[in-house]
Subunit: 655 residues, 2 copies
């Protein structure tokens, strides 16, 4: 095939999308006509005063954050800022959270967050943490589910994007992070056309400290220069293994749309991480010079600190036998999903109609038999026939992801044919199918990638919205659809728009999280170095051009609320402690014309705003979060003098 023919062949498939989803509103209405309106309304309605059954954590995709929704209501309970600055909460603007967004590339105000993954105990989500990957500038974040705040962000060296991440093992021994795109390892200035020679893919195994949740990179596995798309850990019998999908085994570096879609099969890489651990334990690894940062937020200090690392342990897959095997899998597999028993590894070949199910037992047998089809860059390639357990003849087009209901059934999304197909494990027969509006990517069943799914609801995360909601100009929200899967047939019960692009979501019963949710921070335990625990200790200190204002808030005044002695060129640090110890009484703090955002200070917390005044004058500041009947009066003034013209610093209240 010449280049143009190849382009046309592949593009024709991809372009089925716009046609496929040009279901107009009439078609949409017609299909949803099948909805039992009043039964569905009852099912999703959470009356005032009642609670949702599940927390659902959705990635924000290109928003960089996590959105927390209640299910079945589809109500947005909170947006947790993770990788992107958020003026609403002062995240990435106050001095305490700025370090969370530091990288070896400098401060980065944004990322593309794809896959939330709950921490697990014995293969079941435990409600302690949720991890999420930064897909653009390779990182993994950990969010603490007692505070619903980002607790830690770790950077991943040697990676070019981070898509196949942050899937965890049964006890969160590891969170993985596989490079999206291969890059020179270590980075260097080489012609892009030397891809095959110079580019590699690093898969990071991030350890999670069981007590504090602290992350670090235990080791990286260096792989051929493919693209690593998604991953899932083995469980039960397959615990100890991690599975990654690859695409671009063609190793093209341009027009991948065409050039990376040539091979009939790419691979699922099966990583025996217990074997890797043995090599590490025996000191059989290479230590590579590289730099990465770990940024940890200390909840008592109310402050993030950065730890610098300059080495990483590396195992080159081709040099460490027994660590990696390749399972040939048709048609650019996207998702790789492991059933609740750990017996089956499902490859969702996105340019395929059918699903490929591999057998873990057969894989082990083939490895023991050393029955290899050959090798790729020194990595054994198993025979497709030796490992395949079955094929699901789905009748759909473009399978992407599969989740499980814990009752022996699997549910797979089909992007091109815009539907979810329910099928039976072991027999591979299709049981049901239902349309999605439109172009579904991931789907989510609470606990649906764990050993024990709570198989009551399924959520489809759709890439295209078009006519499903009132229009909002050229930019439309992406959309989730909630299905009741408690019966034999899937039943669509609700559409709700989402924040950003939720690539994936996880959900957990409310009672595994809500009882541990923190209501306030203890003022007594506040260990912030600039905390002010009583109004009588408020003050201003000036050293050179640094001004430190030790300030407190309580309904409804600041102390101090009149500060003089500041001059143009000063760096003014407002260290504001919220003295409240009641639930849901934050105070906000902002300064007019400051080139930053506000502080939003929770009860018992201290936060710091840096202000560099540019012009003389008298500048108001005020509380931004309506806190009492006298909130509008919660205000003060800052006097700024020309450089060298300021009086002595004074800080007063009510005088």
């Amino acid at each position: 095939m010449n280049r143009l023919t190849k382009i046309m062949a592949v593009v024709a498939l991809a372009m089925t999308l716009p046609q496929g989803c040009n279901n107009n509103s009439e078609a949409g209405t017609e299909k949803s006509g099948a909805i039992n309106r009043s039964s569905a309304a009852e099912k999703v309605y959470v009356a005032p005063g009642e609670y949702d059954e599940f927390y659902s954590f959705m990635s924000g995709g290109f928003s960089g954050q996590i959105s927390v929704y209640g299910l079945p209501s589809g109500r947005l309970l909170k947006v947790i800022p993770v990788f992107s600055v958020d003026g609403e909460k002062g995240y990435g603007f106050n001095e305490e959270t700025k370090p969370l967004l530091e990288t070896t590339h400098g401060f980065i105000p944004w990322d593309d967050a794809h896959h939330p993954e709950l921490s697990q105990t014995n293969g079941v989500p435990d409600g302690k943490y949720i991890f999420i990957n930064g897909n653009n500038t390779p990182r993994v974040a950990r969010v603490d589910l007692t505070t619903f705040e980002t607790a830690e962000i770790i950077e991943l060296p040697n990676a070019g994007g981070n898509h196949s991440s942050p899937f965890t093992t049964e006890n969160s021994e590891y969170v993985v992070a596989g490079t999206r795109f291969s890059v020179p390892v270590p980075q260097k200035d080489v012609p892009i056309a030397t891809y095959k020679e110079n580019f590699k893919g690093a898969l990071s195994f991030i350890s999670v400290d069981p007590e504090h949740g602290h992350m670090d990179i235990d080791f990286q596995v260096l792989m051929p220069g493919y693209d690593y798309d998604l991953a899932h850990a083995g469980k039960g019998k397959s615990h100890g293994w991690m599975f990654f999908t690859t695409y671009n085994t063609e190793q093209s570096h341009t027009l991948k749309e065409v050039n990376a879609s040539q091979n009939d099969k790419d691979y699922i890489a099966a990583i025996n991480w217990k074997k890797a651990q043995e090599y590490i334990k025996d000191g059989k690894f290479k230590e590579m010079d590289t730099e990465y940062l770990i940024n940890r937020y200390d909840e008592n200090k109310h402050m993030a600190e950065t730890i610098k690392r300059n080495k990483v342990r590396v195992l080159d897959a081709s040099e460490y036998p027994g660590v990696v095997y390749f399972l040939p899998t048709p048609k650019s597999p996207h998702g790789v999903d492991v059933d609740p028993t750990g017996s089956y590894i499902i490859g969702n070949g996105k340019l395929n109609a059918n699903l490929t199910v591999h057998s873990f037992d057969k894989m082990i047998q083939a490895i023991e038999n050393e029955s290899f089809a050959g090798d790729a860059y020194g990595i054994p390639v198993l025979n497709f026939e030796d490992v395949v357990a079955g094929t699901v003849e789905s009748g759909g087009l473009g399978p992407l992801h599969t989740e499980f209901d814990g009752k022996g059934n699997a549910y797979t999304t089909f992007f091109i044919s815009s539907e979810v197909v329910k099928w039976k494990l072991d027999t591979w027969e299709v049981l049901d199918r239902i349309p999605t509006y439109y172009s579904v990517g991931h789907l989510m069943i609470p606990g649906g990638d764990s050993k024990e799914p709570w198989g009551k609801y399924m959520v489809a995360l759709n890439k295209i919205t078009k006519d499903r909601y009132l229009p909002t100009g050229p930019e439309l929200a992406h959309s989730a659809q909630l299905y009741d899967i408690s019966g034999d047939k899937m039943e669509l019960i609700l559409d709700f728009p989402t924040i950003g692009e939720p690539h994936y979501a996880q959900a957990i019963p409310a009672d595994l999280v809500a009882p541990n949710s923190k209501k306030i921070y203890s003022l007594e335990e506040n260990a912030h170095p600039y905390a002010t625990k009583s109004e009588k200790d408020t003050r201003v200190e000036k050293k050179g051009n640094e001004v430190h204002i030790y300030m407190t808030t309580i309904r409804s005044h600041f102390a101090p609320d009149n500060v003089e002695g500041i001059e143009v060129g000063d760096k003014v640090y407002f260290h504001v402690t919220n003295l409240e110890q009641d639930w849901d009484v934050p105070h906000g703090f902002s300064v007019m014309g400051a080139q930053t955002a506000e502080l939003l200070i929770m009860p018992g917390q201290t936060e710091t705003l840096l202000w560099e005044p540019k012009k003389p004058g008298v500048i108001p500041f005020y509380c931004t979060d309506f806190c009492s009947a006298l909130h509008q009066e919660m205000q003060g003034y800052l006097r700024v003098s020309a450089k060298g013209q300021a009086p002595e610093v004074t800080a007063t209240t009510g005088e």
Copy 2:
């Protein structure tokens, strides 16, 4: 009273809040037990494929943005970035929108947005624009409701915050913006204690060009150094007048919680803007040197541009007879609301139990009679008894805001007693009351501050959430509650959490907005100076250390996708044009490790990302918005060389 006694007296009132809202979950459940569950579920349920009846625009408060919700479902359709940077959309990060956030204080990445106000024709919301105020750094923004994007932001000189804004006149002749806090006018370095001598309050009258919507300041009225809290325009017979509430007529500058709550009455300032126009027309104004910026987004150029102004026309209220009168109003009035006929001006005295209703006719009569109680800074003060039409004996505590249903009824929120009270215009009798959960601030009825409300629903915007939803750590979302007000009794039908703190909201029937909603930008009409309208025109140009990459996107590749010749120290501008002309096919663009956010480019649009590479290597870029079955392949590489070491620039695709 000594200082301490005064503090205790006032604080005791304000502190009723935590007790008032310590309705525990049992109480909450009990009250909501009155909900007719299945009828309420039916009323709020918008089944998949159906549309909401109303667009509701809620301010984000300290998020700085506008949230668009559908009613009655309470689903979040879009967050429109206005005053705060938003990595999700590249807003404030791409070169095209950066100018929108420029001020005379420099680039400001955040503000506190309080009051959305729809443009009006003949006193009725027309669905063309929505205005919103920046409360922290005084500005007003205009959002275009064909694109749902911020079209313009104007800065307000001489102001200290901007809370009593952006309320409009009957035909959006003016949008007003009154200073929240008074400041020295012009700004200067003076002791804060010279407040009474030096501080003034500027009220801006912003003209709106009927054809393009362009805003500019027509004139400012200079007022005494009070705090200006809220405003509303007259309508019908009172068209030509604007009413502002004042507080802190005590003119205190510290511990306002106490010191600004001493006077039994503050004022509603009635501004005769038609009279002011006469002075302006006759050239009787002062021209004051000051600086402010107007930032306008050009929809064809896809780019914002900044206009600098250096003068403003000023009328000092004390020197221009007939422009301003003061109506004494009890107890720190917060909201000032004008009924649909324009006959009544309602003052919501936040430290009061009752509402004060002033009569427009009586006010005019008193002015004609020159029946004044005296003056304040040269401004005539009317006699309370001369202007008051009635008092609503509400039985509630802490009235804040009133809206109308167009059927002769008014609805007032009570912050301290957490309830909405329905009462009858003309008779002032209380008809109904219903609790809110908790501490309600504003309320909103679609068109409820206009001449013709659509009085079917009422939304209460609550400041405290506590136990109403599943907990999310110390930080909880604020909350809206939807009431059916079509019958005699108000009926609570839905709770839904909100983004930021929606101080106020407006709503409009969907059919006044949806038919004009733009689906794509025309590629043909794209007038961006760096637009690339065809793949054959893509290229890279390097001049000195500036690299301009003319790039296109179409499902599913970039052109070019391999660029070499970049070196450390270069400023690389990616000008990316989305060639798609189908609805809902944006493409995203991001560069690994770039110290900025992504681009999110709508069909037909061009956006520019600036990247300053810091280290040599080969860097991936990719599409961030899942666009087709081959989205994962939509990727490219950038080769970065050390300074002075780069080869000639080349830009290729598929070669």
